[in-house]
């Protein structure tokens, strides 16, 4: 096993575990390769850390809530200080309570604030690493033998905030080569979620000429019409020349070609 394969398998292990033989292969490689071993340790720590991350990051609402509480507290203190002129001499215990409460409150607030900035730095760091992880996991899933896994790879790619070029070209490959029509369909949906880059456009136009499934043919025709993609004209005409086209596809195709004229 080479290092690239080992890295893929590490992500696979985190994703859905490895069977005995695949796990042993990986471990054998890790035992022999210091750099992969180091990477594996780092990944273990990362995944552990991600499990420990609080699900909600402190947001504006928390801040607002905190300010509101602080304000209410200040008002409360101001009010009590008015009364204190009469009440304080007789109730030193109350004074002590207010003082210690303020101290505790200050400590907690200070702690919360520091924790928050630290958390934010950690979260930002984890965000970057998470992105790399998703990237690896997506690419790995898209190469699995099981169609269900490849479908998961497609939906993983959809969970990435910004799909990078490598993932996009893997999706284009899936659209053109995947043996399963449902995976091709999902890959197409994922590719068209965002405005297509020139290379993705080319991949989709190419797909028009060789997709054999009517479901995909119609999805591709609709894409060309909705995006007013004049570059798709040639592939559409090529498709029209196919003698065995499904009647429903032919109807849609004629409509589409007319709409370009």
């Amino acid at each position: 096993m080479n290092c690239d394969a080992a890295k893929e398998r590490m992500s696979e292990r985190w994703l859905h575990g490895l069977d005995e033989s695949r796990r042993i292969e990986l471990e054998t490689h890790l035992a022999a390769c210091p750099s992969c071993r180091e990477e594996s340790t780092a990944l273990n720590a990362l995944w552990q850390a991600m499990e420990d991350v609080p699900t909600e990051e402190p947001g504006r609402q928390l801040r607002a809530g905190f300010e509101w509480m602080m304000q209410a507290y200040r008002m409360g203190v101001a009010e009590s200080s008015v009364r204190k002129r009469i009440a304080a001499p007789r109730q030193p215990l109350w004074q002590l309570a207010v003082a210690s409460l303020t101290l505790v409150f200050g400590l907690v607030a200070g702690h919360l604030y520091t924790a928050r900035t630290q958390d934010q730095a950690t979260i930002a760091q984890l965000g970057v690493e998470m992105k790399t992880m998703k990237h690896l996991v997506t690419l790995s899933l898209l190469r699995q033998e099981s169609a269900g896994d490849r479908l998961r790879g497609v939906s993983f790619s959809e969970s990435m905030s910004a799909t990078d070029d490598e993932v996009l070209s893997a999706l284009v490959r899936a659209l053109s080569n995947d043996p399963n029509v449902n995976v091709r369909l999902a890959a197409f949906d994922a590719l068209t979620r965002n405005p297509a880059s020139p290379s993705v456009r080319k991949g989709i136009r190419d797909a028009i000429t060789y997709q054999e499934s009517p479901l995909l043919q119609i999805a591709l025709i609709d894409w060309a019409v909705n995006n007013k993609d004049r570059g798709a004209m040639d592939p559409l005409r090529q498709l029209e020349r196919q003698p065995e086209l499904h009647p429903a596809v032919r109807v849609r195709l004629r409509e589409a070609i007319r709409s370009f004229q």
């Binding site: 859905h16 069977d19 099981s146 169609a147 269900g148 896994d149 479908l151 998961r152 497609v154 939906s155 399963n180 029509v181 449902n182 995976v183 369909l185 999902a186 499934s213 009517p214 479901l215 119609i218 609709d222 019409v225 909705n226 499904h246 429903a248 409509e255 007319r258 709409s259």
Partner: protein
């Protein structure tokens, strides 16, 4: 790698053709490990059932109508064709036939299946717990009491899937072009569904929480500049409806995509 002679099965099927179907047993090389069965037919039906035994039993029936009767005074030489070819690699058993052949296979419940046929028959699966990947061009697909993840496409037939449980973690996708997609889930199944029916409707007895309304797009085609002054009545107008809905069942969970063009979608609660 242990190829099993296609000849043996074909020969046994030759005799089967004239009489009844003949049974053939194939063993997985490691009964404890993950098992896989792949069947690829051009013309015929595939039925897969489960049994408690560890091997696969194949009952093939090459239709007698496909065979020429020997001319008077002559007899057929058994050359091993036409029939059912099989090959075994590790724990994967593959069956294929070019001529009309209906096959029924019994396998252990946890076997993963990949089943494809084009003409002349349905694909029927009962009780399988392994992953199912299946494709039928002109027939129906009916999967009953299955519990593995399913990825299925029936181009011109109906697709009916009844799941006895839903917790595989893998994504599922069911699609047809002309007929209905009919999915039955356990009452407590947690699923996130993506539904798309271009010309049909969607029915369910689950409480499906839809995220947002279906997108309705309308685009007007402006007339060419030379016709700018023509009356609006002569304008070409294209109205398009993009019918994709996202929803959750029991709070959401496993991803399931259901797609059809001319059919309707049914999501039923298992009674």
């Amino acid at each position: 790698m242990k190829p099993i002679s296609a000849f043996l099965i074909a020969a046994s099927l030759l005799t089967a053709a004239e009489s009844n179907a003949q049974k053939q047993t194939l063993s997985f090389s490691d009964p404890a490990a993950a098992k896989r069965l792949e069947v690829s037919l051009v013309n015929g039906s595939i039925t897969v059932k489960t049994h408690a035994a560890k091997e696969a039993i194949i009952e093939g029936n090459v239709a007698a109508t496909q065979r020429k009767q020997p001319p008077p005074g002559m007899k057929r030489l058994d050359t091993g064709l036409p029939g059912l070819g099989s090959e075994q690699t590790g724990n994967t058993i593959k069956l294929h036939a070019i001529h009309k052949a209906n096959v029924t296979i019994w396998v252990p419940a946890e076997t993963a299946l990949k089943l494809n046929t084009i003409n002349g028959g349905d694909i029927i699966v009962e009780g399988i717990a392994g992953e199912i990947d299946t494709n039928n061009i002109n027939g129906n697909i009916t999967l009953t009491d299955v519990s593995g993840p399913v990825v299925a496409h029936a181009l011109n037939g109906k697709l009916t899937v009844s799941l006895s449980k839903l917790d595989s973690g893998k994504a599922m996708s069911l699609s047809t072009f002309n007929k209905d997609v009919d999915l039955t889930l356990p009452a407590d199944a947690k699923a996130s569904v993506k539904l798309k029916s271009q010309n049909g409707e969607i029915f369910t007895d689950f409480d499906v929480t839809l995220k947002g309304a279906p997108v309705v797009e309308e685009s007007k085609k402006e007339p060419p500049a030379s016709n700018k002054n023509s009356s609006p009545r002569t304008r070409t107008r294209t109205v398009r409806f993009e019918k994709v809905s996202y929803g959750t069942i029991n709070g959401g969970g496993q991803e399931i995509q259901l797609t059809t063009y001319n059919g309707s979608i049914y999501i039923r609660k298992k009674k």
